[in-house]
Amino acid sequence: MKVTIDGISVEVEAGTSILNAARVIGGDIVPPAMCYYSKLEGSGGKCRTCLVKVSKGSEKDPRPMPKLVASCRTTVMDGMEVQNITSPEVVEARKGIVEMLLINHPLDCPICDQAGECHLQDLGYEHGLAKTRYEFDRRTFEKTDIGDKIQLHMTRCILCYRCVFVADQITDHRIHGILNRGDHSEISTYIQAAVDNDFSGNVIDVCPVGALTDRTFRFKNRVWFTKPVDAHRDCDHEKCNGKVTLWYKGEDVLRVTARKDVYGEVEEFICNTCRFDKKKTADWVIEGPRKISHQSVISSNHYDTLQPLPVVKTNPLLVEANKEQFDRQTRL
């Protein structure tokens, strides 16, 4: 099927969403997505940041669609023409959505662990206004610990529902959910409880903002001062293949996350053992530095080579474990 987005045509399979077709093209014309997550079935459609204008429905039925549509949940038709950044209507609507998402957000980025890799930050920077027109008290919640590894900062939540989908689809038992209605909605367990099972830590990775953060990394460092390194281990959990990103400060692994692609989505979900309990370099086989999009604030502090880390070079055990990498270095 042929679809044209902002004047650029691409061939995609039937059933592809407009958003995913745009991701095939890549670049500026990809609509931002705060709630859609390609690895979580049923996600999307809620945040409305990915709204686009369908100026031609299809080759068969060329009528434009009457309203802007959520590109993440609208499938392409053959001959469809879509306007994203070329439509002033879309740009204006998106500005409105960003403003709505921000009116009750605390903007506590200076003390938020997510800062630097926060999608709402990026969204606000790229599509928002410099000032707010909202003059009322912002909605607040008490922060709570859901278990000893995860902290829930509901005040920052934008209700994308991703963590609920993770609990439903990746873990074996959902304990938290969305309570209440309207702008009183909150992520909660209702009765204080620990969200604990082998894959619960993935809610941290899918959270687009700092609502769910890693307690073991809390206030340890700003993400842009840490250096991401791809590594793997032979994880004995049947559903986890142990491929992760380690975030180094000097010689210390400050945190472990799943590997994320250019849209911030994890490549594969990882288990809690890999995430929380393996924080020594010796636990891992180092693959090399993680490439971070050059637009990200994190990359401002990064090197982009395939050289083994200093920490690996100084430790004979690690040199042995990462022989491959040294070989590659010699080859290069």
């Binding site: 609507a93 709505m100 027109r133 009322f136 209605r181």
Partner: protein, 452 residues
């Protein structure tokens, strides 16, 4: 006297019981449909009647039915939307209370037309007395052989159940209703797929309003063409109007579509004029969601034509000078009412009822309520009106379901037509708390159209 199709026998004592209802010709439509018509013929009659959905959107019922997917071996469902919650609308409560068998008869015929073997009537939970009435009526109908296995010996089986809601306006939206009926939070689904393809339990489903389903009964009895003769143009048949507010005779009126609005407000047959000898200030013609109109625009269109109670005439002039038929919730405001206060009240309603799923509605409805509250209590700013219009525009059309639009329209239209009153609230803050703006110029004759 106008023709009554739904409420013809409403004053017959005991019409809420099966025996009396039957003696007045009740369940003839079931007999006719099941014994002499095929399901497709029933759909055809409804199409011919031109019946438009009475829940608010006004989508042709027959067309909705013809969209129903019919894959082999998959159950189909007929669901009645009795989650009546639109402020100003109380016709379904009235119908279910006084003539429940009419709804049940309509449900049997509709279910037959669509091939549903199990059907549900989703009633808002607050209407517990009506749920009891319906349950009793269903038991009576089942006893008489009009429900259950092999109805009237025709081989058609149907079970009909009543499902209570839990208190959520949003469940009047058909996909939210289906979610709720599945025992979930009433979050509207993202469409497509539409319920006609994947509705209740993922099966093809039709959801219709109580009044639409009741109207199927006279359509089958008299024939679709006969029904279509009533009314004007594409507004066929009769419609229940819920009249409330500052009028002498609030209540439910069955009108033939096409009655002039002025007659509806002032004639003794209907509302009986404005209560306490006051003057008319404004009308919300179709339930709280539709744009409010000042007195001079509700009785006449911008082109000085008499405005009629039809889908087309009420929306004449678009949103600039018109409104909508909606669900027929006719709310009348007299000269002592404060439009700002009422707009704030409606905004609070939508803020309270937003499901919170998508961001423009979740955040925007609360924002509008706060700004309107500030205006009403004399702390507003001149820029607030433009802010409200802009916020309403950011919500309108950008949400998953129509609740966003429903929240935006009353605010935008109140500012469009009553801007002076809003500004007065800003300039005369302290006074606005103690006194109302009054009728002002809102009933003044419209300017003559400029000759072209």
């Amino acid at each position: 006297m106008a023709r009554k199709l739904l409420l013809e026998h409403i004053n017959v004592p005991g019409i809420n019981t099966f025996d009396v209802y039957r003696s007045k010709g009740g369940y003839a439509a079931v007999e006719k449909a099941l014994k002499t018509l095929t399901p497709d013929e029933v759909v055809e009659e409804v199409k011919k009647s031109g019946l438009r959905g009475r829940g608010g959107a006004g989508f042709p019922t027959g067309m909705k039915w013809s969209f129903l997917a019919k894959p082999e071996g998959v159950a189909r469902y007929m669901v009645c939307n009795a989650d009546e919650s639109e402020p100003g609308t109380f016709k379904d409560r009235y119908l279910m209370t006084y003539i429940p068998h009419l709804l049940i008869e309509g449900m049997i015929v509709s279910s037959y037309a669509l091939g549903a073997k199990v059907s549900y009537i989703y009633v808002r939970g607050e209407m517990m007395p009506q749920i009891r009435i319906l349950e009793k009526a269903i038991a009576e109908a089942k006893n008489a052989g009009f429900l259950g296995k092999n109805i009237l010996g025709t081989g058609y089986d149907l079970e009909l159940y009543v499902q209570p809601g839990g208190g959520a306006y949003i469940c009047g939206e058909e996909t939210a209703l289906l979610e709720s009926l599945e025992g979930k939070r009433g979050n509207p689904r993202i469409k497509p797929p539409f319920p006609a393809i994947a509705g209740l339990y993922g099966c093809p489903t039709v959801v219709n309003n109580v009044e639409s389903i009741a109207a199927v009964v006279p359509i089958i009895n008299d024939g679709g063409e006969e029904y279509a003769k009533i009314g004007i143009g594409r507004s066929t048949g009769t419609k229940l109007i819920s009249a409330s507010g500052n009028i002498n005779k609030p209540g439910i009126y069955e009108i033939e579509l096409g009655v002039p609005v002025e007659e509806f407000i002032y004639s003794e047959e209907y509302c009986g004029g404005i209560a306490n000898g006051k003057r008319l200030k404004a009308v919300v013609a179709g339930g709280s969601s539709v744009p409010i109109l000042p007195a001079n625009l509700i009785t006449k269109t911008i082109n000085q034509q008499a405005r009629l109670m039809t889908y087309e005439s009420l929306s004449d002039g678009g949103f600039a000078t018109g409104s909508m038929m909606g669900s027929g919730g006719f709310i009348v405001f007299d000269e002592d009412q404060c439009i700002v206060r009422n707009t704030w009240n409606f905004a609070r309603f939508y803020h309270h009822e937003s499901c919170g799923q998508c961001s423009p509605c979740r955040e925007g409805t609360g924002w509008m309520e706060k700004v309107l509250h500030r205006l009403e209590y004399g702390h507003g700013k001149m820029s607030d009106m433009d802010l409200l219009v802009d916020v309403s525009k950011k919500i309108e059309g950008n949400t998953i379901c129509p609740l966003g639009d429903a929240a935006a329209w009353p605010v935008a239209s109140a500012i469009r037509h009553f801007r002076d009153e809003f500004e007065w609230h800003v300039t005369n803050g302290p006074e606005a708390i103690t006194r109302n703006f009054g009728l002002a110029h809102y009933a003044d004759p419209l300017p003559e159209p400029v000759a072209s």
